[in-house]
């Protein structure tokens, strides 16, 4: 293989991706044609061109940026709480083996439980406020952070722990200089999962209680029967979610050690 061939991007890899994108575009064009010809009722499915055209209107009139910042701030608050309490919980359970043996299965069970359905309870406790949304995101996202913190600390290579012991490190030094740095990539996997769960629950609860940022926007537009606006808002939330996941993936790759 020539040097040029090794450096040049492999265009063969882009062909399926391009076909995927073209297929999606073709799908929307087909929907447009079906709606314009009246085969599909435009009062149920608005034409994609109308949805696309309503983006500037929704962004301008509905204060999408402000709503986005509100949802982002709720996510950030939940994320900070997750980092503090989730990681601390994991460290505590790793430190006290008996506690870990006693409640780790409960935490795992909580991860599979429909915690978000407790939102009426949180409404009663915190009222119809941002704290209901934040706490819902926090509680639903807590189990993966705790479980991954335990996994990361328990997975620290024995040789690293022994090196720390040979240097007569204290318990605190052993934790901050050996265990925690070694567990950091796995802890971040937990935080990434937690933040995804938090975002899903935060937007979901905003929609359900009709309060807050992007979730409420969809609910309001749907209640006004602004079809094109509703579809545009949903597309916007999907775009925000995808950008959020991609950014978290990049950070995780950056943190992951190169073996």
């Amino acid at each position: 293989m020539s040097a040029r061939g090794a450096i040049a991007p492999n265009f063969g890899d882009y062909v399926p991706v391009a076909i995927g994108v073209v297929a999606v575009v073709m799908f929307f064009l087909a929907v447009e044609a079906l709606v314009q010809t009246g085969v599909v009722n435009r009062f149920i499915v608005p034409p994609p061109s109308e949805v696309l055209g309503s983006f500037p209107r929704v962004i301008e009139e509905e204060d999408v940026i402000g709503r986005f910042l509100l949802t982002a701030s709720e996510c950030l608050t939940a994320g900070v709480m997750l980092t503090v309490f989730g990681v601390a919980g994991g460290v505590l359970m790793h430190r006290y083996k008996l506690l870990q043996d006693a409640i780790e299965t409960w935490v795992a069970a909580l991860a599979s439980a429909p915690v978000v359905l407790m939102y009426p309870l949180f409404l009663v406790i915190f009222g119809r406020s941002a704290w209901t949304i934040i706490m819902m995101g926090f509680i639903a996202a807590l189990p993966p952070v705790i479980l991954k913190t335990i996994e990361g600390l328990a997975g620290t290579r024995k040789v690293l722990v022994n090196v720390g012991r040979s240097f007569n490190l204290t318990g605190s030094q052993q934790f901050w200089m050996i265990l925690f740095p070694a567990a950091l990539p796995t802890i971040f996997v937990g935080l990434r999962l937690g933040l995804i769960f938090a975002l899903i629950n935060i937007v979901g609860v905003e929609f359900l209680i009709n309060f807050g940022g992007l979730g409420q926007l969809i609910n309001e537009l749907a209640e006004r029967y602004d079809l094109a606006g509703t579809y545009a808002a949903i597309c916007f939330v999907i775009l925000v979610s995808i950008v959020f996941f991609m950014a978290l993936e990049k950070i995780e790759r950056w943190l992951r050690p190169v073996h």
Binding site: S112, V124, L208, N219
Partner: protein, 256 residues
Amino acid sequence: MQSRGVVPVTPVLTLRIAIVVALLALWEFLARSGWLYRDVVPSLLNIGHALIDLLGGSNYYLHLSVTVGEILGALSVGGGAGLLVGIILGANPFMAKAFESFLYYLGPTPKIIFFPIMIMWFGVGPQSKIALGTLSCFFPVALSVAAGMRGIDRTLIRVGKSFRANSWQMVSKIYVPAMRHPIINGVRLGLGVALIGTLLAETKLSNKGIGFLIINAYSTFDMPRMYANLIVLFVLAIGANALVGRLGGLNTIKRL
């Protein structure tokens, strides 16, 4: 030597019992102290009464049957579609490169935001709840099956081909049995999200189902009944999840 059927009292069990007792005592103390709003933290006795009333009345089972029907509908449609798409993506690297990234990134988006669309398409009845559950369930099953398909031992596929198995025989005799583990995991994840999607939709707009009972208890500020509903729901959800794993034999699968 201990007698059969007697659970040994280990430190772990002792701690578990101590934690449960401490939490219940703290709850009862808060209920009686008056520090929180009355009825936000009702007495355990009231919750117990509500639980008995709930499970003793036939009305609850009517609502439960509606929700179970919706979830099963969502699981069969979404899970079936997910299985099919997962097999196609897993078997064909070109299709996977073209379309799997869309599923990967759409999968974790909050599905409840699609509920207004589902209402427009399917109406306010159970169909829109089934549709939302289907949408929630499809992505984890498809992604799990696609990953499982790619993880099949190539030797098994060569064995199938050497016996000149046709496409259907390859799917039924080689692919599906070899992918039992990822399929069950996908169904477990799918069941969890289908349950959440369906019940959240019921809390938003419905007059039947467990989600409706929860939001109705909230609307009438009948907190003991709401707690009772949540307790039963959590037990059922965790139990169903464990049952799928057990029936699928997750704990009996041996890895070489």
